[in-house]
Amino acid sequence: MEAPTKIEIRNLYKIFGPDPRRALEALRNEGLGKPELLEKHNHVLGLEDINVDVKAGKITVIMGLSGSGKSTLIRHVNRLIDPTAGEIIFDGSDILKCSTEELRRIRREQMSMVFQKFALLPHKTIAENAALALDVRGIPRAEHIPAAEKWLDRVGLQGYGDSYPHQLSGGMQQRVGIARALTSNADIMLMDEAYSALDPLIRTDMQDLLLELQQELQKTILFITHDLDEALKLADHLVILKDGRVIQQDEPQTILLEPSDPYIVDFISDINRARVLRVRTVMEKTDATDGVNIAGEIDQEENLESVIAMAQGDTRKTYLVKDGSEEVGILRMEALIKSLVPTEASEDGIRSQ
């Protein structure tokens, strides 16, 4: 069932400065952190020993605060930045060993990117912008404009093909950015804080759009954000980055229930857990349903919020959990309520380590 790995990031290091190799030696030998490296060697630690598997057809979200190295990491995947050490295996070969030609082919055909500041070409129409990837490949206008129009329709921009970027709102411009990435027909989509410049309502819209498209297209998406809500909503796999280091990576549900680091505990303490946690995470796996008073049936992918709404706040009820038509367990409302209590409950977990 496990999806195959599309991109493997292995022991990736990036150090900014005049002599990154020497700084890397120092980093490995002396075990310095980001501040010490800056102080002692005057080099900026961008990324330190990153290992991430990006699964095909899934959304991998990289989350971290400003300066944690998210943009640096995603730019290594299509090699807009060259690493100091490490490898990035893509479909079996190391991207870092590609020739310029191969790299260009990969960028043209296999990877597309969506940018925080949209990065549209201001002198081209919306349709021309969306068709950029095809134009770059040398596909004639008569073919690439209709293809672009198709995806523009799909992201909700029908009829805007002949407008110019400056005539569109930020949200619409980012839709063009997404249409541009989709038009390229690449398997992999890299999204660097694609929604961070948008206001909250439009942002929710765009997240829904992405999930909807993803259901249909099953792209391999690497999504970057500094917003935990966004990360939890979109992620199949969540990677949390701090000062250039991965401090935890797992399924979002697991991170929420078992944060491995006080930093993450802080992070998740004021999140609406009922909206993020799903039935399957808190249910009891059992088929002994005899003698239990079942109040109703629920799907295992439902979030807890909708269960609470269904129970109308009654904490004594128990539900039968189904995966499609198969019975997979039961959910007691008491267990559900317990799982909603955040930080303290998980804190023993950290202390005991």
Binding site: M111, L120, L121, P122, D135, H166, S184
Partner: protein, 346 residues
């Protein structure tokens, strides 16, 4: 006798100085003459009158020491000695410039006014898309024709068209190359600074030695050297100022350097490049007036006549004519620039 004689004797160079004295034929300084007339030795000057040890002062103290005019003379001789080689190389290289200028002048002079004026108006309309400006240009051109200054104005325009076009053709690639290499930029900027600050007349002096005054390329080169600076600078700047994010997007979608240049960098730098073209045209205009000293035709000739013969009226009218041309060229290119910038407003 002279303040610095003792310096030379301390250094033990008296013999060398002596050897020079005989040949020294430079004019005797006024102070020496006065001293001879007075028949007495000049008393040693006080420290307040200590002359700067310039070449001439030292020459006085030591005959073998060269005078400062030897320096300028030396430069002149140096230039003259490489002149033949230089013009052997430059002459054929720059010959097309003469042809272009002659062709343009011929075209502007032989095309009848009733054809030329409408053609110019259509060009202005296409470039500026402003009817108001076309009306102004029509009025100005008809006025030139009416007061019999039309042919001079046309000559000036012909020279400017050729020179400004060549400035763009040469300057944009130079600017592009500069934007891609920091080292080239560091090397070219001082040259541009020099071209821009050197007084316009100074270009003309070596050019007169190199080329014959009857050839149009003489003033053509002077104009191009002077006017090319802004278009080079602003092309370089414009490309360097292109949004980093957009360049990154171009890279991420796998553009080649060539695609990036023509699909992204040059189009996005176009407002700046056009601003450079505008300045280049204005500077060509100012130089074409000065270049009439070396036989550049056009309104500048009339200005010069006004100065030489003290014909106040001619000088003023042709001066005003240049202002009108300047306004026309400036407005036309500025409107084109505004149109381009508006298209890219973000």
């Amino acid at each position: 006798m002279s303040t610095y004689e003792s310096v030379f004797s301390i250094l033990g160079l008296e013999a060398w100085c002596e050897s020079g004295t005989k040949e020294s034929s430079g004019p005797v300084s006024m102070a020496d003459l006065l001293a001879q007339n007075a028949g007495t030795d000049v008393p040693p000057p006080s420290i307040w009158e200590l002359p700067f040890p310039s070449m001439d002062t030292l020459h006085e103290a030591c005959g073998a020491f060269p005078q400062s005019r030897a320096l300028t003379k030396g430069i002149e001789n140096g230039f003259l000695s490489i002149k033949d080689g230089l013009s052997f190389v430059l002459d054929p290289l720059t010959q097309p410039l003469s042809w272009f200028l002659e062709a343009a002048l011929w075209l502007f002079e032989t095309t009848p006014w009733w054809l030329m004026i409408p053609v110019l108006l259509v060009v202005v309309l296409l470039v500026s898309r402003s009817v108001k400006l076309v009306v102004f240009v029509a009025a100005s051109l008809l006025m030139f024709a009416f007061i019999d200054y039309y042919s001079f104005a046309a000559q000036t325009l012909a020279v400017i068209f050729v020179c400004a076009a060549l400035c763009v053709v040469l300057g944009v690639p130079i600017g592009i190359a500069m934007s891609r290499s920091d080292r080239l930029q560091a090397g070219v900027i001082p040259i541009l600074d020099m071209l821009q600050t050197l007084p316009a007349f100074v270009y003309l002096i070596p050019l007169i030695f190199l080329f014959s005054v009857t050839e149009p390329k003489l003033y053509g080169i002077a104009i191009i050297l002077y006017a090319i600076v802004p278009v080079v600078r602003l092309t370089d700047l414009g490309i360097r100022l292109v949004d980093r994010d957009v360049i990154e997007a171009a890279d991420a979608f796998g553009m080649t350097d060539h695609q990036k240049l023509w699909k992204v960098q040059v189009p996005l730098a176009l407002p700046n490049i056009m601003a450079g073209v505008n300045q280049t045209i204005m500077m060509s205009l100012s130089m074409v007036v000065i270049a009439s000293l070396v036989s550049a035709p056009g309104l500048g000739v009339l200005v010069l006549r006004g100065i030489r013969n003290l014909e106040l009226g001619v000088g003023l009218v042709s001066g005003l004519g240049i202002v009108v041309l300047a306004v026309i060229l400036d407005r036309t290119t500025k409107l084109a620039l505004a149109r381009i910038s508006a298209g890219q407003d973000r």
